[in-house]
């Protein structure tokens, strides 16, 4: 298989972009990545997005591609719920590895805050099973809450242990100029925040976000050794059910586990070798499950480990120096691309927030309650 390299990245701030349209948001991130890659015209454009239907716009590759002068190139959108950014990277990787293209631009973009929150909450549940879950009014927070209560009971873990994750993420996010939530918080702030779906409180949850990120992928042929290009050495993606009920064990995120195994095997990297990781903490419980499924912790051990200082800056691996979905924010279809861009910047040494000295990095982006996951392993 041909090698795939990251020649440039770009991102907008995560947050509320009232006066910036979807096409402008995607365009800004895209043009930054193109500029970093030496202003070469990409041959293909892959868009990651989940919910532009809420603002009545599909066909985003055409919309955003044409907006930035890419008329005539190849392109399309890919979607895997909140894991859309990850599958966009998987697609971009394969378009280059196949030999079809040498230069592919991957753009994740989401603009949720144009719509009222209750519409967005309903939209996010399109990741779940419309006929068997959404019909009962369960929200995405509610589905994660079912898993969280089960996990706490099974492993004997207190709410406060899990909630501590949020404190850590706000601390990291406070130093990331692209993050949506840049205030430090205390455990008491989390515990006192309103319940949104028991036992999940507001501060256990990522915010609703607008944002766009882009990565410019190139083949070996175009690799420019001077620029410390970062190599994608492993990539894996896997599906689990949309519904929670048919899973044999509620806290085993099969897609997360299988995608991580595939990516690590392909990269010939052991999980202990990872220096830095950006993982998918849509809720504090998601952080625990993702960390355990990747293999950074044994089952039921992650919260105690982060309470003991593990995964924080200085530890190996450092997890979510960006602040994660919790503090950087979660512009749904863009999140997987933000993660990749952040880890690339860590490997290059130019991430503008918490810096992690790193040779090997990992990203994991999850759609639904673990129903679609993509893991990427990168080396400098």
């Amino acid at each position: 298989m041909r090698g795939v390299y990251v020649a440039g990245v770009g991102m907008t701030n995560v947050g509320r972009h009232t006066n910036t349209s979807l096409r402008d948001l995607g365009g800004i991130a895209a043009l930054k990545a193109i500029e970093e890659a030496g202003n070469e015209r990409p041959e293909a454009l892959v868009i990651g997005n989940m919910l532009s239907s809420l603002i009545e716009q599909e066909n985003l590759a055409s919309l955003i591609g044409d907006h930035i002068g890419l008329r005539g190139v190849s392109g399309f959108k890919v979607e895997g719920a909140c894991g859309s950014g990850g599958v966009a990277i998987m697609t971009g990787y394969s378009l280059i590895a196949s030999g079809l293209f040498n230069k592919v631009l991957v753009v994740g973009v989401e603009k949720l805050l144009e719509r009222p929150p209750s519409d967005v909450i309903r939209g996010l549940a399109y990741a779940a099973d419309a006929d068997y879950e959404l019909v009962h009014g369960v929200t995405f927070s509610g589905l994660n809450a079912l898993v969280m209560r089960y996990y706490m009971g099974k492993h004997g873990i207190d709410y406060e242990e899990i909630a501590e994750w949020s404190v850590l993420m706000h601390r990291n996010g406070s130093r990331n100029p692209f993050a949506q939530l840049r205030n430090e918080i205390t455990l008491e702030d989390v515990v006192r925040s309103p319940l949104i779906a028991d036992p999940i409180r507001l501060y256990d949850s990522c915010p609703l976000s607008d944002g766009a990120a882009a990565v410019y992928l190139v083949s070996e042929k175009l690799r420019r050794v001077n620029d410390t290009p970062v190599t994608i050495v492993g990539i894996g993606n896997a599906l689990d059910s949309t519904d929670l009920t048919s899973r044999p064990e509620l806290d085993d995120l099969l897609a997360s586990r299988v995608s991580a195994d595939k990516a690590l095997r392909m990269a010939k990297v052991r999980v202990e070798d990872i220096d830095v990781a950006e993982i998918h903490d849509a809720y504090t419980i998601t952080a625990a499950l993702s960390i355990e499924s990747i293999g950074f912790a044994e089952r039921g051990r992650a919260p105690r480990m982060w309470c003991e200082g593990r995964f924080s800056p200085g530890d190996k691996p450092t997890v979510n120096p960006s602040g994660g979905l919790k503090a950087r924010g979660h512009p749904v279809g863009a999140t997987g691309v933000y993660q990749l861009a952040e880890v690339v910047m860590q490997l290059r040494g130019d991430f503008p927030g918490v810096k992690v000295p790193a040779e090997i990095g990992l990203t994991q982006n999850i759609g639904g309650v673990g129903s679609n996951a993509t893991t990427v392993v990168l080396k400098r």
Partner: protein, 135 residues
């Protein structure tokens, strides 16, 4: 009519026996296409639950909304639990299926769905259920 609506149909694999809800065309454990549909029992046990307090659009009148993951025989189902206060919910609680209306569909339809209530429910609590199924 009520009895028909109360049938909860799961798929069971004839090769490995794995039984799942919602029903699938192929077995998710062994991949076999030899699948039969079986009715699940109407009584079950709460495995986990939540109380949705930030509702999706359309479910405002049902909020706070109790959602539970319920073991029904060999399978599990996700549904609403009614006729109980949030603070009375417990893992391990026994519940039984009933038919109630849920929120209007995007096209204004008024669907009736299977919900659950405590198996030996005492007096009906002040309920957020605007309508029960005509029996």
């Amino acid at each position: 009519m009520k009895n028909v609506l109360l049938n909860i149909s799961a798929s069971k694999c004839l090769r490995c026996g794995y039984t799942v809800y919602p029903p699938k065309m192929r077995c998710i454990r062994c991949g076999s296409g030899e699948i039969v549909y079986v009715n699940l029992p109407r009584e079950g046990e709460v495995l986990s639950y939540t109380v949705v307090r930030a509702p999706a659009k359309g479910f405002e009148e049902f909020t706070p909304l109790i959602i539970a993951l319920i073991r029904l025989g060999e399978a599990r189902i996700l549904s609403e639990v009614v006729e109980v206060n949030p603070e009375e919910m417990k893992v391990g609680m026994k519940v039984v299926a009933t038919i109630r209306r849920t929120a209007r569909t995007i096209d204004g339809g008024l669907p009736y769905v299977v919900k659950f209530k405590p198996l030996e429910s005492g007096s009906e609590v002040g309920s957020n259920q605007p309508d029960s199924f005509p029996s």
